[in-house]
């Protein structure tokens, strides 16, 4: 049984006098214990809102509606009351955020921020927590951890800050970690280090990881399973190898084509996807990607395309997918 089973998750934001926004519109995916699952898509496709919904961190107020289910080890995270959800957060499910500087409290030393979660969930004494915190910082590769505990966030480098945030997230050995674009705010060499660290932590502790990113390079390097999101729905899901070798959905193909390549000739233009995320068709009226799609056919509009399953577990939501290509061709 899967560790996390998200079924038909939807999040809508409505405001009087304005059109209701379907930020997440029926996302389904599963995460097995110890698995690394990627959620990929461009800005505004609902990646971050999905993660916030799973963590129960969306503001609880009128106009924000969360539907569907997210069964974590048998309990539905979306149905938990705030108090029990607070106990789950940090202990069983933890999150790593995009911007390490703004995610750390600028006026509180790192040490206090790391020990906070230990005191909260593991009932440690202050002293024991401080010792554990130093070990945690050491484990995430921060040199001289005892000294660093006394320092403030602005004294740490970007990579170091992200390491500290990761230390906080893994402090209670959660079974599921959600990383929301953990490397976007970092430069490329640091990115690689942080991804390496995450991989290592996942391998050593058996923690499952949901990797949210717009960077297919990140996904290619570490995810077991990849879900491509578009306009709040999963449009293609596959094991990593299958996705890169035999992508079927035009959106996935477009994403891969728009990556700049080092071996491309000078002055050669990139191949972007036409239009912008704003040009969407509501899913109820057909395929949301249809307005931007090069392979659009009449059947795209009218009713929403269903997920087409294949015998390998590779699924895609398209009525006119790219034909399955041989691995040789795909590489060309």
């Amino acid at each position: 049984m899967a560790l996390l089973d998200v079924q038909d998750l939807s999040v809508t934001f409505s405001r009087r006098g304005q059109r209701t926004v379907h930020a997440v519109d029926g996302v389904s995916f599963t995460v097995d214990a110890g698995e690394v699952v990627g959620l990929v898509g461009e800005s505004g496709c609902g990646k971050s809102v999905t993660s916030l919904a799973l963590m129960g961190l969306l503001p609880r107020q009128r106009g924000v509606h969360v539907g569907g289910s997210a069964s974590f080890d048998g309990t539905d995270l979306l149905k938990l009351d705030p108090r029990s959800m607070r106990d789950v957060r940090g202990r069983d499910v933890a999150m790593i955020f995009q911007d390490p500087l703004s995610s750390l409290n600028p006026v509180v030393p790192i040490g206090i921020q790391v020990t906070e979660v230990l005191v909260r969930h593991r009932d440690m004494s202050r002293d024991a927590a401080r010792k554990e915190a130093a070990e945690l910082l050491d484990r995430v590769g921060i040199p001289d951890p005892r000294r660093r505990l006394k320092e403030y966030p602005h004294q740490l480098s970007g990579g170091m800050r992200q390491r500290a945030l990761i230390a906080m997230a893994v402090a209670c050995r959660p079974r599921l970690l959600i990383a929301d674009e953990p490397t976007t705010a970092l430069d490329v060499t640091i990115q690689a280090q942080i991804l390496e660290l995450l991989k290592e932590l996942v391998r050593d502790s058996g923690t499952a990881l949901i990797m949210i990113t717009h960077d297919l390079g990140v996904v290619a390097g570490m995810c077991d399973t990849i879900n491509v999101l578009y306009a709040g729905r999963v449009v293609e899901t596959a094991r990593r190898k299958e996705l890169f070798a035999g992508r079927r959905h035009p959106y996935t193909v477009g994403l891969l084509r728009s990556i700049p390549r080092l071996d491309a000739g000078r002055g050669e233009k990139l191949t972007p996807i036409r239009g912008s995320v704003r040009d969407v068709l509501p899913w109820t009226e057909g395929c949301a990607f249809a307005p931007r799609c090069d392979r659009r056919v009449d059947a795209c509009v009218g009713e929403p395309p269903a997920m087409t399953p294949t015998h390998t577990g590779h699924e895609f939501r398209c009525v006119n997918p790219f034909p399955l290509v041989q691995p040789e061709e795909a590489r060309a």
């Binding site: 963590m55 961190l57 503001p59 609880r60 107020q61 607070r86 106990d87 789950v88 957060r89 940090g90 202990r91 933890a94 999150m95 955020f97 911007d99 703004s102 995610s103 750390l104 409290n105 600028p106 006026v107 509180v108 030393p109 206090i112 921020q113 906070e116 979660v117 909260r120 969930h121 000294r147 006394k150 320092e151 403030y152 602005h154 004294q155 945030l165 906080m168 997230a169 402090a171």
Partner: protein, 323 residues
Amino acid sequence: MTLAPGKKKEKLDRLAELSAVHDDERGVSLWREAMRRLRRNPAAIVGAVILAAFVLVAVIGPFLVPYEPTDTIGVREKVVSSGHGIIPGPSADHWLGYDHQGRDEFSRMVVGARQTLIVGIVSTLIGLTIGVLIGGVAGAAAGLGGRWGRLVDNVLMRIVDMMLSLPSLLLAVSVAALLGPSLVTVMIAVGMVSVPVFARLLRGAMIAQANRDYVLAASSLGVRKSKIAISHIVPNSLAPVIVQATLTLATAIIEVAALSFLGLGNPDSAVPEWGLMLADAQKYLDVRPGLAIYPAVGIIITALGFTLLGEAMREALDPKLRR
């Protein structure tokens, strides 16, 4: 190319020096950083020097003054006769001359500094405490939401709005008149004036902080809302409040003087206080204008000191101006 032995040693020393500097910087908090930048600001230095002098005079001055400030020495020695407009000016024995009751003006100025400082600080502390309590509760309630949160926030803020809608001196006068004249009354009255300012300031800062990423990050770790409010949001919201407290000290001193001037100050008129001295001096403005000028200059310089330091602190703590 190799370095000469002496050169090399020099270089090593320089390296050691640099690394020592780095060690010093361990645990540099925002506050220490702000202090460092304060020291570089000439306005802050001037303000701090004025205040240091003022505090020094207020604390140890009264032990050193040549005469008792309540001793009507001039009348006893028959050199002062205020009814006939005879009030001698400065002399070697009495540096600022006598006041209208024959008391040594210099001693009264020095002792009055202490009174002014105490009343200013205590009334600011009263305003700060009540204001921070109201603002903190309202800010936490508003930032953390919920129907009750909004209700609490609304009730508190409407009360604050009512206080804010009264002219500050009128509010102080009403409170002082309501509680009857006494020193404590003056402090409460002046303190009440600054309550709405502190409350609004802290609440606004807290609401702004509540939407920051680190608050989301802390709640993603399951930290309780109350803990987030106290140990994450409040420390980040205090900077503008502390700046305001310094500036409020300046206005508090002026307001205390104003209340004394209006006769709502300390009823024991023998205790020197700059505002009271100013009020007493106005009858003798044509005979001895100095009696009005000394306390006025004292008030102006002290208020200036607090304002300079406060403004410099505002700059030092403003993250937008941080390098």
